[in-house]
């Protein structure tokens, strides 16, 4: 049952990812990308990470994709003119297939070490996923968390300066 569900959602994810690449209209690409994000959120739920699924939907599908769709509509980008044959298309596809082949080859040869950190489904259900994330974030990862807030501040300032009239 779980395997069947995984296969179905994985097929939807791969097809919509292919549509992101192949659609001529950027709006269609953006909507396919949102579908891929929802499929990934489903996988996060299957992997016992409900908090990650929630912020995948809220931050990625909600905030970032709305920003992208907004910019596409603001700039009024039309569909790309259909070009029959490009070297970039062929070479890019060959490189992509080679990359996939290399990764799968690497995956086939590798095994897990067997070391286990002790976190399992029972603990996640008992304590709560958000609480576990919060504890790790505010104890072990406090410095990266603070640096992230500085990064966001810099990004806000950068975005404001870049969208000034004269640049």
């Amino acid at each position: 049952m779980e395997t069947l569900f995984f296969t179905l959602v994985a097929a939807v994810a791969v097809i919509s990812a292919l549509m992101v690449v192949t659609c001529r209209n950027p709006i269609n690409s953006a909507l396919s990308l949102i579908l891929t994000f929802f499929c990934l959120a489903t996988f996060y739920v299957m992997l016992d990470a409900p908090f990650m699924a929630a912020i995948q939907v809220i931050v990625y599908a909600g905030a970032i994709m709305v920003l992208i769709v907004f910019v596409i509509m603001l700039l009024n980008i039309r569909s790309e003119a259909g070009k029959r044959y490009t070297h970039a298309g062929v070479i890019g596809s060959i490189i992509g297939v080679l990359l996939l082949f290399l990764t799968l080859n690497f995956l086939n040869k590798s095994t897990l070490t067997g070391a286990h950190g002790g976190l399992d489904t029972a603990i996640i259900n008992k304590v709560g996923h958000t609480e576990i994330i919060g504890r790790a974030l505010f104890t072990d990862f406090l410095l990266p968390f603070e640096i992230t807030s500085i990064l966001l501040l810099v990004a806000i300032v950068g975005a404001v300066i870049l969208s000034k009239k004269k640049i």
């Binding site: 779980e2 995984f6 994985a10 994810a13 791969v14 990812a17 292919l18 992101v20 690449v21 950027p26 690409s29 953006a30 990308l33 891929t36 990934l40 996988f43 992997l47 016992d48 990470a49 990650m52 995948q56 931050v59 990625y60 905030a63 970032i64 920003l67 992208i68 910019v71 603001l74 700039l75 980008i77 790309e80 490009t86 070479i91 890019g92 596809s93 490189i95 992509g96 996939l100 990764t103 799968l104 995956l107 897990l112 286990h116 950190g117 002790g118 399992d120 994330i133 790790a136 974030l137 990862f141 992230t148 966001l152 990004a155 806000i156 950068g158 975005a159 870049l162 969208s163 640049i167």
Partner: protein, 100 residues
């Protein structure tokens, strides 16, 4: 229970699709979306490893990747709007000012 390999293979496929998109598309915003796709496939690898190794650190990394992606989206889209205002185009082949 599904094996770790099925998740890793799926995320390898998604990453390769994203790479092909970055290489063959010309529209800067579509390239940006393909980069987001690659980031997401890596996120799924992190979460799958986090589950199968029983360690929460992978999910914290996903949290940081999402934050960086949000910052990247804000700055990148502002750059694209500035570029469009100057050149009336969103095509990466018109971005050749620094080409040698």
């Amino acid at each position: 229970m599904l094996s770790l390999h099925s998740y890793l293979i799926l995320s390898a496929i998604l990453f390769s699709i994203g790479t092909v998109g970055v290489l063959i598309r010309r529209n800067a915003i579509v390239i940006f979306m393909c980069v987001e796709l690659m980031l997401n496939s890596v996120n799924m690898t992190f979460i799958a490893f986090s589950k199968y190794l029983g360690n929460i650190d992978g999910q914290i990394f996903v949290f940081f990747v999402m934050t960086v992606a949000a910052a990247e989206a804000a700055v990148g889209l502002a750059l694209m709007i500035a570029f469009y205002k100057n050149r009336e185009s969103n095509d990466v082949e018109d971005l050749n000012l620094m080409k040698w």
